[in-house]
Symmetry: C2
Subunit: 189 residues, 2 copies
Amino acid sequence: MKPNRKEEIILKAAQLFKEKGYNAVSMRDLAQDLGIKAASLYNHIHSKQEILEGIIMQVARDFTLHIHEVSPKPISAIQKLEEIIQMHIDLTIQKTDFLACMNNDWMHLEEENRANYIDMRADYETKFREILQEGIAAKELKESDPEIMLFSILSTLRTFYLWYAKNKNINPNVLKKDLTQTLLQGIIV
Amino acid sequence: MKPNRKEEIILKAAQLFKEKGYNAVSMRDLAQDLGIKAASLYNHIHSKQEILEGIIMQVARDFTLHIHEVSPKPISAIQKLEEIIQMHIDLTIQKTDFLACMNNDWMHLEEENRANYIDMRADYETKFREILQEGIAAKELKESDPEIMLFSILSTLRTFYLWYAKNKNINPNVLKKDLTQTLLQGIIV
DNA sequence: GTCTATAGCGTGATAGAC
DNA sequence: GTCTATCACGCTATAGAC
């Protein structure tokens, strides 16, 4: 459970990247926050890019794995959506900085990793879209444009870490109830 | 209507910043895209920072002005929300790159401008919050947590340019109808 | 595993010719 | 209004001592 030095570096980097963005954080900044010199970082990691990759790919995999787990379950589309919302809340709470970094800095991944990330994101959206279409076909969901539903829900879930940063003391169960209601049932009486 | 050289620079900069982020775009990159040398840019602008300021403050003012216009109208809270959604759609269509840049790069504004931007954003959220509370008090809106409603709607509207970039050929009226329905009435039948 | 020193390059910005 | 040339600095990353 105790993080080794490499993990410590990645953890601190995620924190700094979240605040200033990948390009605005230098290896000197990162080293200073860890109480060492920049050159010493290279005993634990090969490059700045490797740090970014470590952050983004880890959490991207979490999302991918989870949606592939929920998708085939023998439950209603609405229940699947509730599980997905719960997952986003959980990951937001556990890995705030990693998630923020993924959202803001994925375009700074180099060639191969960026292509990889884009594929994973597309796969995630496809699975999500299928659940929405399933719900519409079963008449659980409205006959509205599923692309707009997808974007609307996902944009809220993806940037939820911004809200959570300012409201860390909320009860997670109340949060889940309120967020699910707002996203699925809207705000109008 | 024809943009002068300074406006041309700002327009092209917004486009590049949107794709790569402020720090990843050099003055040399920007100049090359305009077909001139980096040094020539400085005949039209004083600094890179001034370009960022020009982009962000312009669109931040648009939002602030508009919500102060809608807020005191003698119409229902729901009608106000509909007007706000319409405004976000309009600005997304007219100023996609500026909006993207504001969302992604505001933290790279320097001291004074950043403080200014943060104030404007807080003011915008306050006005928005008041409309939601007004709607709850009038029993037009559900008795759910207004902070979650605020965040949920606003996060979708703020990142809407991401969706629009891939769906430019949608009919604006259909878009408004579907987005309003999804945000206000949810997706469940 | 950390340090000092430094290579090699890219950056924002300026001076001054045309 | 654009150019060439250049300054001063910050960046990632490496070499090699301890």
